[in-house]
């Protein structure tokens, strides 16, 4: 309803608030390489780049964007120095951090929460109890959704072998791209998947049985956060801070201008992937994702514990994975509440 | 089309009269516009049971002619019939299959002829000892000498048991003695059966030793130059005076023919 307002709102209200000082001073790096997915859960990056919020903060420092399809590739690119800052899910971030012995990256901000649902074939599954004995897809062994499903199964009192996926529920690990096809074909009875795959399944006739956020305190859990390479962080804290300013500003703008942001995100998707999402997928997906500056560190910690108890992760050493000092500095400067690292780093 | 069918039927009717008939056959190689005429208007009958030798200068088209009779190439003009079925052809290059041993090369031919499995091995060995290669059954082609390959190829051609045998310089790589022995064998087989033979050779004495009729081809294009009927009684020997005399005559004719072509 308030689309026309949003336009003026976006460019007037948030821009002058923080950027005046930053844009004039030259930053320490000429270029910052940013990685993200062309995906709704990376709305901050999509919208921020489209609206120019990051560039405003970075001034003459150029943004060099790269897009990825999967977390591991982005971690590899970060390890290789091909990106400096990236939007990514918590599970690859944690994996990357532990496997490098805590030397490669830091999580410096949150970006999104929610947007994960258990959607099922209504003809076969009517209640949560019906899930027993059915085939449920997750995107990948050991990823956030896989861990969540396994944990949920455990809380139901059912048993599944985490590695093979065999048990009271058959856990089928299927690439998100294939999941709608597999559903259409009847190879799976449901899926525990992030947006927009969940909404695509709904568009195919599936029904949302459970929204994962209902399982979490405050109905919030981390789905996307922002990482930075430690080398870049120590060499160019000013650039990182500028990006964080842009991120905070974007998140605020998205919350304030949801419809405009949705259109921006979709336009950005179309530009990157030649295809926009149809409204029947876009609308429900967008609605279920909340942008947030808070990395929701406590939920990430819990997710990691779930992974450990499912036997998918050796007890990770997550100490120091978060470095929220810059984020909190930015938030303080804007008079917003600071965020917490749940004891896993500086804040 | 109707025309051809009728003439084919007519030829079929008189099938007893010839083992192979070449009727105004021409053959040209190369693409249209740059064709080279190799055989020009050849008309030749091989009667059933006849032994015909084909002589001619190198490159005059003898191998081409045999290929046409064997049905491996099509004439550019004219028609060829072999009423006795598929002729056996012994190629100028031995053309043995390198993935088979000498013996198996022969057995494959026997098999194609429809001979039952258990008879094949003894028959192959019989044929090999016929060409004086008793011990070569298990040898691979690349382990044989040039002359041995040629003899295996001869055995293979004989294995086909066709009514018409086409041979392209079958004894060129053999020493005089082995060749004499095989001349005898070939004459024996030919006289004991109703085999017809069309035999290409460069050795004029060999032609006179073996043939009932010698046909001399001219070069560029190949035309039938002259024919000799040979009535020297068998068994002949290559050293016979009569053979030598006729050979000299034919060689002279060949020389004259070649001289007419200048360079050739």
């Amino acid at each position: 309803g308030y689309g026309s307002d949003n336009k003026s709102d976006g460019s007037n209200s948030s821009a002058p608030a923080t950027s005046t000082g930053a844009t004039t001073a030259k930053l320490s790096a000429d270029e910052v390489k940013i990685g993200y997915f062309p995906n709704l859960t990376h709305a901050t990056a999509l919208v921020g780049l489209k609206e120019g919020f990051f560039q405003q903060e970075l001034g003459s420092t150029k943004i060099k964007p790269a897009t990825f399809n999967a977390g591991p590739a982005e971690i590899e690119a970060l390890n290789a120095g091909s990106i400096d800052i990236g939007w990514i899910g918590p599970s690859p971030a944690i994996n990357g951090y532990t496997k490098s012995g805590g030397s490669n990256l830091k999580i410096i901000s949150g970006s999104a929460s929610g947007g994960v649902k258990l959607v099922v074939n209504p003809a076969k599954i009517k209640t949560l109890a019906d899930v027993k004995g059915k085939k449920i897809a997750t995107p990948q062994l050991g990823n956030t959704q896989d861990v969540a499903l396994l944990n949920w199964i455990k809380t139901q009192g059912w048993k599944v072998d985490a590695q093979s996926g065999k048990g009271d529920v058959s856990v089928v690990r299927t690439d998100n791209k294939i999941t709608p096809d597999a559903y259409k074909n009847g190879s799976i009875d449901g899926a525990w998947v992030p947006e927009p795959t969940a909404s695509k399944l709904v568009a195919e006739g599936a029904k949302v049985l459970l929204d994962e956020s209902s399982l979490w305190p405050n109905k919030q859990f981390v789905i996307t956060n922002v990482i930075v390479s430690q080398k870049f962080l120590s060499a160019h804290p000013d650039v990182v801070e500028a990006v964080l300013r842009g991120s905070v500003k974007t998140d605020a703008w998205i919350k304030a201008n949801s419809d405009k942001a949705k259109a921006d995100a979709n336009a950005q998707l179309e530009q990157l992937t030649q295809k926009a999402l149809p409204a029947k997928v876009l609308d429900p997906a967008w609605a279920s994702i909340q942008v947030t500056d808070d990395p929701l560190a406590a939920t990430a910690k819990t997710e990691a514990e779930h992974a450990v108890s499912a036997g998918l992760l050796k007890a990770p050493k997550l100490d120091g994975i978060y470095d929220l000092t810059l984020l909190n500095k930015v938030l303080k400067a804007q008079g917003q509440p600071t965020v917490d690292a749940a004891g896993l780093g500086t804040q | 089309m109707a025309d051809t069918l009728t003439s084919a039927a007519a030829q079929h009717a008189e099938s007893a009269a010839h083992a192979a008939r070449l009727d105004h056959v021409s053959k040209a190689f190369g693409r249209p516009g740059a064709q080279q005429l190799v055989l020009d208007d050849i008309t030749l009958d091989v009667r059933p049971g006849e032994f015909v030798c084909l002589l001619g200068a190198s490159g005059c088209g003898k191998s081409t002619l045999l290929n046409l009779v064997a049905g491996l190439d099509k004439p550019s003009a004219g028609s060829i019939t072999t009423p006795g079925g598929r002729p056996a052809l012994m190629f100028q290059e031995h053309a043995l299959f390198p993935w088979l041993t000498a013996g198996k090369n022969i057995e494959l031919t026997l098999r194609m002829r429809g001979m039952p499995r258990e008879q094949r091995r003894p028959e192959a060995e019989r044929l090999l000892s016929l060409v004086r290669l008793g011990g070569a059954y298990g040898k691979r082609v690349h382990e044989l000498s040039g002359g041995m390959r040629q003899r295996v190829a001869l055995a293979r051609a004989l294995a086909q048991d066709s009514q018409l045998l086409l041979m392209d310089e079958p004894f060129a790589a053999l020493d005089a003695i082995t060749r004499d022995v095989l001349h005898d064998e070939l004459t024996r087989i030919w006289s004991e059966t109703d085999l017809s033979v069309l035999f290409v050779t460069h050795n004029v004495r060999e032609a006179v030793r073996l043939a009932q009729r010698v046909v001399l081809l001219s070069s560029r294009p190949g035309r039938i130059n002259r024919e000799w009927s040979i009535d020297i009684p068998q068994p002949r020997r290559i050293e016979d005076a009569a053979v030598a005399d006729l050979s000299v005559e034919i060689t002279e004719e060949l020389r004259g023919e070649i001289r007419r072509h200048g360079q050739h």
């Binding site: 590899e76 992937t273 | 516009g33 491996l72 060829i80």
Partner: protein, 315 residues
């Protein structure tokens, strides 16, 4: 009764030596396509070598076109018969519409060109590396024993396996792309050359040695030309490998430096569950593959075979 006849027996004009009066050759087309057996023998018997333009069209252009038309018809029929819904099987017109959209968006050629240029450049590099490698593996027994099997092993290693390593070591740029292509295509080209060399009749090598073509001169003047038919077959497979590796490499990451290629486009369409787009992507990749084959490898193969009399019917 075995009989070989030509209908033009009586009325065929005599064949002269002068090109001017050489009449059109009468070759009754005895080609009976109905039976496989007949077809298997057909090449042996036919002697036609160059055919007039009309016939070239009939023989070269008609068959692939009719194959394509056939596929289109079956496809459209399947759509009309509602064998599957739109999301499973888009109609030809939907795919055509997608093509028109791309055309209008103006990026159709840039998508194709991005991939083709990467692919050809990578293939050329693979050629330059794979050829000497294959030569050394084929001819130096120690090297063959040492890295021959490893080469075959590398060939069966999927390109995606290299991607992490390539990204980590080389970063997100064209070098990663080319590294992945090379790792896919070099073993294939080298193995093709090794197979080609193995099939060279030793007689040629011996003849080469007696005329003094030894060492590198022998490799260049005897070994490579003698192995050419097998080598060209290896090149064809090597191209397939480099093209597929490229498609895999394009999926890893995209950035403005790399541009959008066909692999990326296909992936985007898959990501968007856009079946018409996926079909268009497949068709475009197929189209490029066929075009490369028809423009590069087929003529090369024909030339190699014809020049040594290996096309059946030429002897």
């Amino acid at each position: 009764m075995a009989s070989t006849e030509t209908s033009g027996a009586q009325d065929a004009a005599p064949l002269g030596k002068s090109p001017a009066d050489a009449p059109a050759q009468e070759q009754p087309d005895r080609h009976d396509l109905s039976g496989l057996e007949a077809g298997l023998d057909a090449l042996d018997a036919v002697v036609v070598k160059r055919t007039p333009v009309g016939q070239v069209l009939v023989k070269k252009v008609l068959p692939p076109i009719s194959a394509i038309v056939l596929v289109l018809v079956v496809w459209q029929l399947a759509v009309w018969a509602k064998l599957a819904d739109q999301t499973k099987l888009p109609s030809p017109s939907a795919v055509g519409q997608e093509l028109v959209d791309r055309w209008n968006a103006g990026d159709l050629f840039s998508i194709i060109w991005t991939s083709v240029s990467h692919g050809l450049l990578g293939f050329a590099a693979a050629l330059v590396i794979g050829t000497p490698l294959g030569l050394v593996v084929a001819r130096v027994p120690f090297v063959r024993a040492a890295i021959g099997p490893i080469l075959s092993g590398l060939q069966s290693l999927p390109s995606v396996a290299w991607v992490p390593a390539a990204v980590i070591w080389l970063g997100l740029n064209n070098s990663t792309m080319y590294a992945v292509i090379l790792l896919g295509a070099v073993p294939s080209i080298a193995n093709g050359l090794v197979a080609g060399i193995d099939q060279v009749p030793p007689l040629y090598l011996r003849a080469g040695r007696t005329i003094g073509a030894t060492g590198l001169r022998g490799a260049w003047f005897i070994l490579l030309p003698a192995a050419l038919p097998g080598y060209v077959a290896g090149l064809k497979q090597g191209w397939a490998f480099s093209w597929r590796s490229l498609m895999a490499a394009e999926l890893i990451a995209s950035s403005p430096d790399l541009g959008v290629g066909l692999g990326r486009y296909l992936e985007n369409m898959r990501e968007g569950s856009d079946m018409a787009g996926v079909f268009l992507g497949i068709l475009l990749i197929l189209f490029v593959g066929i075009a490369i084959d028809l423009l590069i490898f087929s003529p090369l193969e024909r030339w190699v075979l014809r020049s040594r009399g290996l096309t059946a019917g030429s002897q």
